[in-house]
């Protein structure tokens, strides 16, 4: 038997009382017809030779109010009332926790600005006639990260992000290929990879005609060759 488990604040001295408590619990059943528990306990004391120091009825009702001696001094432990659980202090702690939690949310949101000082994801890129057949236009590369390529029957917008690790390849006109300076990946004019570590072709962006007849490019929508998306009518512009 480990009385410390039951009443952590009350050490050794109470062991006896604890034991007697159990005995009294058993005898209580016998003399349960008695209306007055205090009288009951007094009777017990008279009967029982191993007399407890503490009156027996009490520790059952208010175990925490027992007086326990620790060395020279002694302590009283206030009983915790059920209603006092919802005290102002509890409310204060809840409010504090909520406020702190909210602030962590604010901190997270703070890292995502509402306005970006970046080139737009959607933009107009002039008229189809501005682009001559067979040319790779590199003028939009610096600002928008797009190559506009016009072949004999279509115009498409290639992403300038290398599919290996995300560097920016260069268009080498004489060699008729895109070449990445980081690790040497090479892409054909169509965007298909043919040398170096790049695992898949360059991506194409959504390209449509705006109401005023200009080319409209939407970078938020990408088309990957290996997923068969280059046949999507919005991945190229028929001319």
């Amino acid at each position: 038997m480990f009385p410390m488990d039951k009443h952590k604040n009350i050490p050794n001295d109470v062991n006896n009382a604890e034991e007697n408590e159990q005995i009294s619990g058993q005898t209580d059943e016998i003399s349960s017809d008695s209306a007055n528990p205090k009288m009951d306990s007094v009777d017990e004391q008279n009967l029982d030779s191993k007399k407890p120091e503490v009156p027996k009825g009490e520790p059952e009702k208010n175990p925490a109010q027992k007086r326990a001696s620790i060395g020279k001094g002694s302590i009283f432990v206030e009983p915790i009332k059920r209603r006092s659980f919802f005290s102002w202090l509890t409310l204060a702690w809840l409010a504090f926790t909520a406020a702190t939690g909210t602030f962590f949310g604010i901190m997270l949101r703070f890292m995502f600005p509402n306005v970006l000082f970046e080139p737009k994801q959607t933009f107009k890129a002039g008229y189809p006639d501005d682009y001559s057949v067979g040319d790779v236009t590199t003028s939009l590369k610096e600002k928008y990260g797009v190559w506009i390529v016009r072949s004999t029957e279509e115009i498409y917008a290639l992403s300038t992000v290398c599919t290996h690790l995300g560097c920016t390849p260069n268009w080498l006109k004489n060699e008729n290929k895109f070449k990445c300076p980081c690790h040497g990946s090479g892409f054909r004019k169509t965007g298909i990879n043919f040398e170096g570590p790049a695992p898949r072709p360059l991506e194409r962006f959504k390209i449509t005609l705006a109401n005023d007849g200009q080319i409209f490019i939407d970078k938020t929508k990408k088309y990957a060759y290996e997923k068969g998306q280059w046949s999507d009518p919005e991945s190229f512009l028929r001319v």
Binding site: M111, F112, P113, L116, F117, E118, G145, L165, G166, C167, C182, T220
Partner: protein
């Protein structure tokens, strides 16, 4: 009090040791026995991180390689040189690269930036050596398993400091290295917009995790390595990560003492 019991005149140092100023700073006198030594260690905020006593054979260079101590020393060098560099470096696209050039060519001696750079390389090496030593001597076993985990966190923080510092020179190597490095964050499960599970986090047709709201965006402050990324890496490198690593270092050193000092050779 100028004369001692024998009537001899006392020296300056002796009188200094008796003064109130001295005694208010250093409570214990000159330690002359084991108890005195223990008290002087326990009463000093700097010394108390260190064990009071340790076995003679545990401090053999052959056993520890002094890798942990060297790592801390290099961290101190990096902190001092880093603060000095901050007087000249401006973390903007316009000035960052030229300020680095200025630091190595015009600023007196031109060596402060090189010390910082070489010390940074060296710290990564010594931290790994320390890790290796701790592993090989079995010092990660109970009761030191918690401190091993703190050590793993310190290793990660060291690498993060190294990574964030890499961008600051703002040359081609830096920009593309960080571009490649942060592209990994795209593939973070649920948090990166190209990672597994990111497509599940959506309301109807609207993706919650896209290129403008994922973990890579939080790191770069944009969709590519630009002005915002430079500033974020600068703040993390100079304030954020050093602040965190110092807290964990304090825990690490203190726990060595509390776990019974360093391990001893079998």
């Amino acid at each position: 009090m100028a004369k001692d019991q024998k009537g001899k005149k006392r020296g300056f140092i002796s009188r200094l040791g008796d003064s109130q100023v001295w005694k208010s700073i250093i409570r214990t006198g000159v330690p002359r026995n084991r108890r005195g030594r223990m008290f002087s260690v326990l009463n000093s905020v700097f010394l108390h991180l260190h064990p009071v006593r340790m076995p003679r054979h545990a401090v053999r260079l052959k056993y520890t390689w002094c890798a942990g101590g060297l790592s801390f020393y290099i961290f101190c060098v990096l902190t001092i040189t880093g603060i000095l560099l901050m007087f000249y470096y401006r973390p903007t696209v316009e000035y960052a690269y030229t300020d680095i050039m200025d630091l190595s060519e015009q600023v007196p001696l031109g060596i402060m930036r090189e010390i910082h750079r070489w010390a940074a390389h060296l710290m990564v090496i010594t931290v790994w050596i320390h890790m290796f030593r701790v592993f090989m001597t079995g010092s990660y076993k109970p009761p030191r398993e918690f401190n091993w985990m703190v050590g793993v966190i310190l290793l990660v923080l060291t690498l993060l400091l190294s990574f964030t510092g890499y961008l600051l020179p703002w040359d081609q190597l830096a920009i593309w290295a960080i571009t490649v490095g942060t592209n990994m964050a795209r593939a973070t499960p649920f948090l990166g917009h190209e990672g597994p599970g990111a497509a599940l986090l959506s309301i109807g047709d609207i993706n919650l995790v896209h290129a403008g709201s994922d973990v890579r965006f939080a790191l770069l402050g944009g969709r590519f390595v630009g002005e915002a990324a430079l500033l974020r890496f600068y703040v993390l490198h100079c304030i954020g990560f050093p602040f965190i690593i110092i807290i964990f270092m304090a825990i690490h050193f203190w726990r060595i003492r509390k776990d019974g000092g360093i391990t001893t050779p079998v």
